[in-house]
Symmetry: C2
Subunit: 342 residues, 2 copies
DNA sequence: TAGACAAATGGTAGCGCTACCATGACTGGG
DNA sequence: CCCAGTCATGGTAGCGCTACCATTTGTCTA
């Protein structure tokens, strides 16, 4: 016995209601909504009128089930509050705001295991594309990405071996450039200060180290790091530690701008002249770097563009035109400012 | 003619595969996964073994379609990069990480129309709960929230008329407290500097104004605002404008900490003594406020807790125990620091 | 010991949509 | 003028899961 349209769903209009009202088949409604070109002008108008009148909104869940593909971009980042990733995510959102795709963000907390778990969760939805931060996935996470059955973009870094596509830049080169700039400015005892030493920070450190070794000035005691998450106050503390360890320090390359700001404030507090006694270089070039007094030299990275570019590549791949260039290096730019001008 | 299990879905194991392998009905598998208590110990073990062996992961789309309810929390914030909302979102994520609920974030860009559009999109998924920033929804957005058919939590602010539940604090009181503090510290020509004057900023301004009027010191020329999004560099510029307009300014209450930091840097640059010549108060109390030199007085808000609390309330409501207290005021705390200690 | 009742399990029928094929109406080339 | 080829439309059969109702078995009370 068929109950009379019980509507356990709650009474929202369905595609069948629209079809009935427009006097066409359900499929035609479905097509009119998804591939308007394949439905005649006339019917399209009729259907649109019925849609408007009923206030019909397609059910994305039913759509995903029937087509075996959800209109969802899965995005995996290690942190939600770190401004760097927030900018990437903003770029992704802005690029997708006029598309039918929804976005689902996963926060891995810098954990490979959490990344695997989230990849599993995301994969179960059959997303349209996946955007993941970093290139250091665990072997099993990498396997999940390879078998995701959708375009995958690794962002923030470039490397030799993409799962599918990549957009980012070389953190090693960025670190080297920062250190070389300090060397050219005449600083010699240049420290490295870093918090939350994730793989990208490690590569910046490696770049710093390469530059220092080339100059014959490397000394492991110049390095001060901690696994603790980065913050301005931590920058201050780490700088104090670094000075205690090596009182003759005359420059610092900071892992990121928060740390650099903490260093600057500690210099103010301890009446250390910047840039005369200490040169400071940050990383990412947040807005505040140019406003600080003195303004702080930093390596500008193109975070928002990484987000928009990754979406563009994924959309192209979804449309069947995978970009010819699978690895996109957006580079970086050294912004020279007062903090290293002596 | 039934084709032999065509699996247009792509060959992943389904609940029927698990049921067959475990020698039980599909429903029993479904129950074992969702309400283990209702399935006998024996079968539960058998089913778990089959799930593990096949690597079965339930399809959330099919689940949502069948149960008319998606395991999704919809979250609407006006900005992704503003640290304030990022903290709220982080609290939401952390509270939900061990639950089956996924999170979908919408970025309204401070636009009521965009908020309506996103509410429509979210609603079509039949989310388990909605968390939205602010209490100033457009009438039609409010209607969408009322008819969402799920718990709704408005966050960041409290007000008299919740759609369903609320977690936040009074921005008016926060603004008043900041201004009163400056007054008590002996400042008289106290300016208000604000960017992106969203409704919350407007209420902070109203609180400032109330305090100034009570003291008989209000002057509209003390107010400097702009609709432009907030940033540290903008803080610097607005402070310059404010000083040009009113050279005798001796204190500023800043809309937020970014602005306050910009003001501090400009003071450094212009050799204006803080706190002697100018007192500065920020809002939100980001980490850097306590590290700045001089450290900056700010109104600490409990953003992460707003996130965790809103989830707790929503989960309780989903479980059928809506909290007795529908409006939760988490308050704020004035952090007195060097920038107002003269 | 019968009857009532709860606990454990299963079958059926969709949820709302789209893939896949079928159909009929045209079009155009030989 | 016929038939292949295209275009517009529709019907059918699921996608993978769960709500809703059986059905069976065991347990307790009168």
């Amino acid at each position: 016995m068929t109950r009379p349209r019980s509507r356990r769903g709650g009474g929202r209009p369905t595609i069948a209601d629209v079809a009935r009202k427009a006097g066409v088949g359900a499929i035609t409604v479905s097509r009119a909504l998804r591939e308007p070109g394949r439905v005649s002008e006339d019917l399209r108008r009729q259907i649109q009128a019925a849609v408007d009148e009923l206030g019909y909104v397609p059910d994305p869940n039913a759509r995903a089930l029937a087509s075996a593909r959800a209109e969802v971009f899965g995005v995996l980042v290690p942190s939600l509050t770190n401004n760097v990733f927030a900018e990437v995510v903003r770029g992704i959102y802005d690029s997708l705001s006029d598309s039918p795709f929804r976005i689902q963000i996963g926060n891995t907390h810098y954990s490979g295991l959490e990344e695997e778990r989230l990849l599993q969760v995301f994969g179960s939805q059959r997303p349209a594309a996946l955007i993941v931060a970093g290139i250091d996935q665990t072997p099993s996470a990498r396997r999940l990405l390879e078998n995701a059955g959708c375009p995958v973009v690794q962002v923030m870094e470039t490397g030799p071996d993409p799962v599918d596509m990549m957009v980012g830049f070389s953190h090693l080169d960025g670190g080297r450039t920062a250190a070389e700039h300090l060397l050219q400015a005449g600083y010699r005892k240049i420290g490295f200060i870093g918090a939350r030493m994730d793989p990208r920070s490690q590569r910046r450190l490696a770049g710093y180290r390469a530059a220092m070794e080339t100059a014959g000035l490397f000394d492991p005691r110049l390095i001060t790091t901690t696994p603790v998450p980065s913050s301005v106050s931590l920058g201050r503390e780490l700088f104090r530690d670094a000075l205690a360890k090596m009182p003759t320090l005359d420059g610092v390359f900071c892992n990121n701008d928060d740390i650099a700001l903490g260093v600057l404030f500690e210099c103010h507090r301890a009446s250390i002249d910047v840039p005369k006694q200490i040169g400071i270089v940050g990383f990412n070039d947040l807005d505040m770097m140019q406003v600080a007094f003195p303004s702080i030299t930093s390596v500008r990275t193109h975070r928002y563009e990484i987000g928009t570019r990754s979406v563009a590549m994924a959309l192209a791949a979804i449309a069947g035109n995978p970009p010819q260039q699978r690895i996109v290096d957006l580079g970086f730019e050294l912004m020279r400012r007062e903090s290293t001008a002596r």
